[in-house]
Symmetry: C2
Subunit: 209 residues, 2 copies
Amino acid sequence: MIFYDCSTAPNPRRARMFIAEKGLEIETREVSIAEGAQLSDKFRAVNPRATVPVLVTDDGTVLTENMGIAAYLEARFPEPPLMGRIPDEKGLVLMWNAIAEQQGGLPIAETLRNSHPAFRDRAIPGPSNYAQIPELAQRGKDRVIQFFDLLEARLTESAFIAGDDFTLADISTFVFVDFARVIKTRIPEGNTATIAWFESIQSRPSAKL
Amino acid sequence: MIFYDCSTAPNPRRARMFIAEKGLEIETREVSIAEGAQLSDKFRAVNPRATVPVLVTDDGTVLTENMGIAAYLEARFPEPPLMGRIPDEKGLVLMWNAIAEQQGGLPIAETLRNSHPAFRDRAIPGPSNYAQIPELAQRGKDRVIQFFDLLEARLTESAFIAGDDFTLADISTFVFVDFARVIKTRIPEGNTATIAWFESIQSRPSAKL
């Protein structure tokens, strides 16, 4: 297998943590988004959609998108389970993962990409250029505040995001919450359940890679 | 089990098709988005995030988000498989499903919700109001055109979206392509592979519900 990573970006980090939590060591190639390497002809021969992360399986299947990579690795290396054991758990993991993507990851990315000069005309990842929309940056910030409220309510009632066990939903949520620093947004001080959960995930070896 | 549906909206339709393709009959309750029923106290007691679809399992687990519902149903009712049989297939199904959501479903929804008067201050689903951003409506239209290019390239090389078999990725993509009519966008006439695929999915009994 070959894993195409980018050490500075949140979505590759989610895949990197998932791989580490499975106890796997996979040959890894760095694709520097800062240098625009994801747009190079060389990388687009691997993934024409010009995004990271990418996992090339032993059979040569090219998997992009965190969901594609996680579904493959979970099926091929079932232990430890990161996507639930029984049907109800499997449902809850992908439900909370989707909520984290839509209500956390997306607004954070929208804020960064629609405000930071480094993303001028790069408001959306991929091969095509899109102009920044300043109103979208502001809306993203508002939505992230609501996401933190949602998280605190959930973590007051549950040890981990999807239930009693650490799963993919914790990986995604942790990476997004940590990445919110780029839009100068941190867990509100009073959100004690979220802070305790964040520190527990941060102490895992997979979070330090 | 209880399934909370809305007959006019694309995301509930995805879950409805998935249930039908599994050959299941589940007690169904209609939640009329046109009447704002998803925002009622009664429904928010079921799903505080005020979105459909929702599936309540026999154990009382409340599953929202298409990914949560599909993961549960696939694990509990494995036949016919709609999310791949072997690891590589499972990866490809969720990869293409994610591409369809991000590059098809999201831009179509952004265009509709940021331009149609019925969605004034309802630019994002859920309990909170957000103002429309007209630039986002235009960007969505541009992105949908690119999505149709991507689809045509894929369906020229593959019988179904994720490979040789009908899967969840076809359900999501079909529902989004069909829903693009609300933003007056149809499959371009020259995209013959996409048109043939669309007609084959449209003829399935699950597409007529």
